[in-house]
Structures are given as structure tokens and as C-alpha cells.
């Protein structure tokens, strides 16, 4: 066996007795042993496996905790976002409500180019979100609509439903009073599940459940838009009711028949002129005290 093979076997700790003797007799035996002995001093640091395992496990556990530490605030943010989104969704799908008080008028734009003018003491509601599918408003009171072209437009009132095919019309719904006047286009009125179609100038009027025929309307818009109320052969009580709404007053009638028909008009901006306008034709006298007005027949 040659020298190289012996050294190689020695390196592999694989020498048998005989070979070991041969190895000992090699001239570089002493040198190899010295080298080997001195090499032991370069041994790696002692590695305490169980201690290091503990370190690793605790490091893993603390990492896990930090992973839950970011999870918690994330959940908080998510919760806030959820609430915000919910609130946003709720408010945007909520009906838009507009109402006017006594002696107040307003004009609003609907989600498309349509517009509505509200007379005093009127409530209007519509849904912005559903507007694309269904143009529908709820109305209590009196309003003038200018409807943009498009799909059908509905005005729901407690008395009946007004379906719009055209563009301009007035709806007035008060206690026991329901009137629709068409100014332009075509309007359908459903009352007691019967639909009546109104052409421009036509009007539909129900007082105390009775249909009342009216003359052709020849104005292009309702008079209240010009700050005046006009009545043609209407019961005096409807005139008084409108007067109360426009001036926010209470009117008492003495010796006056509230059912008698009245034709005339009053302005919305001057109470004295208006009072004269509604008392002179009867004839009657009026007296004012605070918010109460007393009309006395002569």
C-alpha cells in the first residue's frame, strides 16, 4: 500500500492495525500528527443544540405574536371602513326629501334635467339611486313639474298617481282636493284605478270625491309661479285654505258660506291687497289681529 493511500485511509479514520503500523513508519508521521493535534484548537465554538432550539422556538413564537399585532389594527381599520361604507350606502340610497313651509316656495332640480317648483307647505320625495330605472316622486301639496324627455315619470300622491308622457303640468293635492292641469305634452292621471289622459289645457279636478268639469286652461303655467293664486268657480273654502298656506295665518269665517263658488285671484306678496281681493266680491269685511284674520259676511 503506498503512502498516499495510507494517508487517505488515515484521514477517513479507516486504518486497520497492520496499516496503522505502516502509517506510523512513514517519514511524515510526526508532522501529520502535530498538524492534526494543533488543528483541534480551531474547533468550532461549542454549539448547545437544546439551548439554540429554545431560542428558535421563542423567536418563532414572538414572530407569531407580532403577526397578530398587525392583524388587530387591520381589523379596526376594516371595521371603520365597513361602517363608513354602510353609512355612505345608506345615505345615498335614502330618499331625498324636500319640503316647504308656510309662505315659502322653492324650485329644485331632479337628477335629470327635470325641475320641480314647490308651492307653500308642500313635501316632495324622490330616490336619486333609482332615478335611472324609475322616475318617481312622492308628493303632498302642490308642485309644478317640467319633465325632461325620457321614460315615464310618475307623481305619487295619496289621492292618485300622475303619469307623465310630456313635459309640463301642475299637480295640486290638498285635503279633499286633487287637481292636475296639463300645460304641455300629455299627462295621465290614475284616480280610483281609472286613467284619464290630459292634453295641453285640460285639467282634472276632484273635490270631496266628486269630479268637477273645468274650462280649458289657456295660461302657459300655473299662476302661483307668478306669486298669485287664481280660482275659477271653486268653493270658497279652498280659497281660504290656500290663503292660509300662503300667508301662514288662520282665517275664521263668520256668516260666510264656505261652499259658495268663487272666481278670482289673490297675490302672495301683499296681505292687504290679497284680503281685499278675496273679500270684495262676496262682499265681506275683514279684521286682523296677530295671526288670526276674521272675515265677516255683510
Amino acid at each position: 500500500m503506498n503512502r498516499e493511500e495510507l494517508i487517505s485511509k488515515w484521514l477517513d479514520n479507516n486504518l486497520n492495525n497492520q496499516e496503522f503500523k505502516a502509517f506510523k513508519n512513514l517519514e511524515d508521521y510526526d508532522e501529520l500528527v502535530k498538524l492534526n493535534n494543533n488543528l483541534q484548537a480551531f474547533k468550532a465554538d461549542n454549539y448547545d443544540t437544546s439551548k439554540e432550539l429554545e431560542n428558535v422556538l421563542s423567536a418563532i413564537k414572538s414572530k407569531k405574536q407580532t403577526s397578530t399585532q398587525w392583524f388587530k389594527p387591520l381589523m379596526r381599520v376594516a371595521a371603520i371602513l365597513a361602517v363608513c361604507f354602510g353609512l355612505y350606502y345608506y345615505t345615498t340610497t335614502l330618499d331625498t326629501k324636500i319640503s316647504t313651509e308656510y309662505a315659502q316656495k322653492t324650485t329644485i332640480e331632479l337628477p335629470d334635467a327635470s325641475s320641480v317648483s314647490l308651492n307653500a307647505k308642500t313635501y316632495l320625495a324622490f330616490n336619486k339611486k333609482d332615478w335611472k330605472h324609475e322616475r318617481e316622486v312622492e308628493l303632498y301639496g302642490e308642485a309644478f313639474f317640467k319633465v325632461a324627455k325620457g321614460s315615464s315619470f310618475k307623481v305619487k300622491t295619496t289621492s292618485g298617481i300622475v303619469t307623465v308622457y310630456g313635459t309640463q303640468f301642475n299637480v295640486k293635492q290638498r285635503d279633499n282636493y286633487f287637481e292636475v292641469i296639463c300645460y304641455e305634452g300629455l299627462v295621465g292621471v290614475t284616480y280610483n284605478s281609472q286613467e284619464t289622459k290630459l292634453k295641453p289645457g285640460d285639467s282634472f279636478l276632484i273635490i270631496d270625491g266628486k269630479t268637477i268639469a273645468k274650462e280649458k286652461e289657456n295660461r302657459i303655467m300655473p299662476s302661483w309661479l307668478n306669486n298669485a293664486s287664481t280660482f275659477i268657480s271653486l268653493p270658497y273654502k279652498t280659497v281660504i285654505a290656500e290663503f292660509e298656506r300662503q300667508y301662514n295665518v288662520e282665517v275664521n269665517l263668520i256668516d260666510i258660506d264656505s261652499e259658495q263658488l268663487f272666481t278670482g285671484s289673490f297675490a302672495h306678496d301683499n296681505i292687504d291687497v290679497a284680503l281685499k281681493a278675496i273679500t270684495l266680491p262676496l262682499p265681506a269685511k275683514y279684521s286682523k289681529s296677530n295671526n288670526t284674520i276674521t272675515l265677516k259676511g255683510e
Binding site: N36, N37, N38, V56, L57
Partner: protein, 171 residues
């Protein structure tokens, strides 16, 4: 191939047994290859933490090569190919009784030479040689640890020995 007992190593006792089996070998491998400056203990810890984080994807058979590769890469990321200097332990083996000053000086000189010669070995030579000489591992075991053939291990170790002896004589 026998049927696998466990598909992954996400259980702590399984993880611990793998650690006990390979951590020391890994540490020594890193130490002899890269020296002490880059803190092999930390790299072992990091590699095993990475093993745990990926435990669902790694079968027990793959765990060893995973930690070795990971730790080696962690080292390589840091090492700027600086010279590796193995630390000389102060606890000298007490071989001789005649510790006169001259002998001590000779010893110290010899150790300095040895240290330099070790630094001059290639990484591949040094890791195999030190595992063999200092840890007392057989060629076959080293071959398994490093994932190379026994013949290659023998060549590396023999080559390392020859180089060391040459360097020591010359220095």
C-alpha cells in the same frame, strides 16, 4: 421510496427533532466555511425560522437541504469574500509536559502559520477538511452533509492536507 409519514413539518415536535438532528452540523459547516465573524449561530437560527414559516411546503426529507441552502445563502449575502480567519481557541490540548518558553514560542508560531494556511484554503476544501479532522466525521458522512460524492470529499480533504503542509513549510 417509502410512504411519507408526515407531509410537512408544521408540528413542533417534528420541527424540534429536525433541529436536533441538523442544527449542530449546519452550525459547524457554516463556521468552517465562513469563519466566526458572520455569526453562524444567528444564521442557523434564521434558517430554521424560515423553515418554520415555510413548514407547510416542506416535507421532512427536504428540510435538511432547505436549511443548509438557506443558511448558506444568508451567509453569501453578507460575505464580501473577505478572508476567513478561524479563531484559535485558548484551550490548547496538553500534549507535552515540557512547556518551556522556547517550546511555547514554537507552538505559537506554528499555530499562527496554521491559521494563515487555513485561510488560504478554498471554502470547499476547508469545510470538508475541518469537518473531517476536527469533528471526526468520516468521508461518507461529509458527502451526505454536503450533497456530493465520497470521492469528491476525499479529493478535497487530501488536497487540503497537501496544501496546508506546503503552506506551513513555506511560511
Amino acid at each position: 421510496m417509502g410512504k411519507q409519514l408526515h407531509e410537512n413539518i408544521c408540528e413542533e415536535h417534528l420541527f424540534s427533532s429536525i433541529f436536533n438532528k441538523h442544527a449542530k452540523d449546519l452550525h459547524n459547516f457554516l463556521y468552517y466555511k465562513f469563519g466566526n465573524l458572520l455569526n453562524p449561530k444567528d444564521k442557523v437560527q434564521e434558517a430554521f425560522i424560515k423553515l418554520w414559516e415555510n413548514c407547510a411546503k416542506i416535507s421532512p426529507e427536504k428540510a435538511k437541504s432547505f436549511v443548509f441552502t438557506t443558511a448558506n445563502n444568508l451567509m453569501l449575502n453578507e460575505v464580501a469574500h473577505q478572508k476567513v480567519v478561524l479563531k484559535h481557541q485558548q484551550t490548547k490540548p496538553k500534549m507535552s509536559t515540557n512547556e518551556n518558553p522556547e517550546f511555547l514560542m514554537q507552538e505559537s508560531e506554528y499555530n499562527d502559520k496554521l491559521q494563515k494556511a487555513l485561510s488560504n484554503l478554498t471554502e470547499a476544501q476547508r469545510e470538508a477538511f475541518m469537518m473531517n479532522r476536527v469533528e471526526g466525521k468520516r468521508f461518507k458522512e461529509i458527502a451526505e452533509t454536503l450533497g456530493i460524492s465520497t470521492k469528491a470529499v476525499e479529493k478535497r480533504i487530501y488536497g487540503a492536507l497537501a496544501k496546508l503542509r506546503k503552506d506551513i513549510k513555506e511560511l
